[in-house]
Symmetry: C2
Subunit: 141 residues, 2 copies
DNA sequence: CCCGACGGTATACTTTTCGACACTATGGGC
DNA sequence: GCCCATAGTGTCGAAAAGTATACCGTCGGG
């Protein structure tokens, strides 16, 4: 997913859709934003424990990008061991309708491991994909 | 953006967010879905004309993935020259709240080329990104 | 002393996504 | 004949995203 930093788009009526997706589309960003909605403030390792399989490197990177894009505020406490808090900015909170819509759709349509598949799942969708999802390889169904 | 074909996720509460983003996060998918919402049926080159800079190759690929994921229906007419129509399935239409939320947020927060920048734009956002958005390089503002 | 926690950084590498280019058969218009 | 339109396919490479591994200083607990 390309990252757009408030560059101007070649606008067609759909550009805002594309731009929004580009801002929040990093692999872990949706989850990071979601968890910050659920729990107002999180520290680095608290966030890390909520994201299965994320690496330290990637979490740092995505948090920094979200901060750079103005969605997340990062507060450093001058302590040892280090204490850093992450929370949503006003701009980040303005994404709530987006994140809720993504969550609502996913709840209704995505099969969760161990859950009984809902009727909403597309019938023809049982065939395995050509390539695995971007998750640990062993997770392939 | 990884493609998830109804594989089971290692579920944490945010998984539905991640899964939904993975399904619609291809570079052109948001725009394709958006335009199919706006205009019930589109042929291939009609869609193509609505997406600035898309290549034939990429449009075909993203349409096929959306079809494979059950969002888009493809109707072939046995004619020459070829006539193919694309429209949203019921499952595709169920994405409307997601696409509308993405569009609404983008409308309020993303600067469009030629438009006066709104106050909502983050102040610090003027600095160029480390790397360009995934679009033709010369398109950088 | 060793281990784990904290919140990272650095580097190299792998995987994934996307784009560029050439090509396809048919028919209509010039 | 050439060009354009239709809706693609095939191949390769570039760019981007993401991962793996090692390392860092300080402190507290065992």
């Amino acid at each position: 997913m390309p990252r757009i930093h408030h560059v101007s788009l070649d606008c067609s009526p759909g550009c805002p859709v594309e731009a929004t997706l580009a801002l929040i589309g990093g692999k872990w960003k949706g989850l990071v934003l979601y968890h910050l909605f659920e729990e107002e403030v999180l520290r680095f390792n608290e966030m890390r424990r909520r994201l299965p399989n994320v690496t330290q490197r990637m979490l740092t990177s995505q948090l920094r990008e979200l901060e750079a894009d103005g969605f997340v505020l990062r507060k450093i406490y001058p302590e040892i061991p280090p204490k850093v808090e992450y929370r949503l900015s006003a701009r980040g909170r303005s994404l709530e309708p987006v994140i809720r819509a993504l969550k609502a759709w996913g709840d209704a349509h995505v099969v969760v491991k161990g859950a009984v598949a809902k009727g909403a799942v597309a019938k023809g969708a049982g065939t395995p994909p050509k390539r695995s999802a971007h998750s640990p390889k062993r997770a392939v169904a």
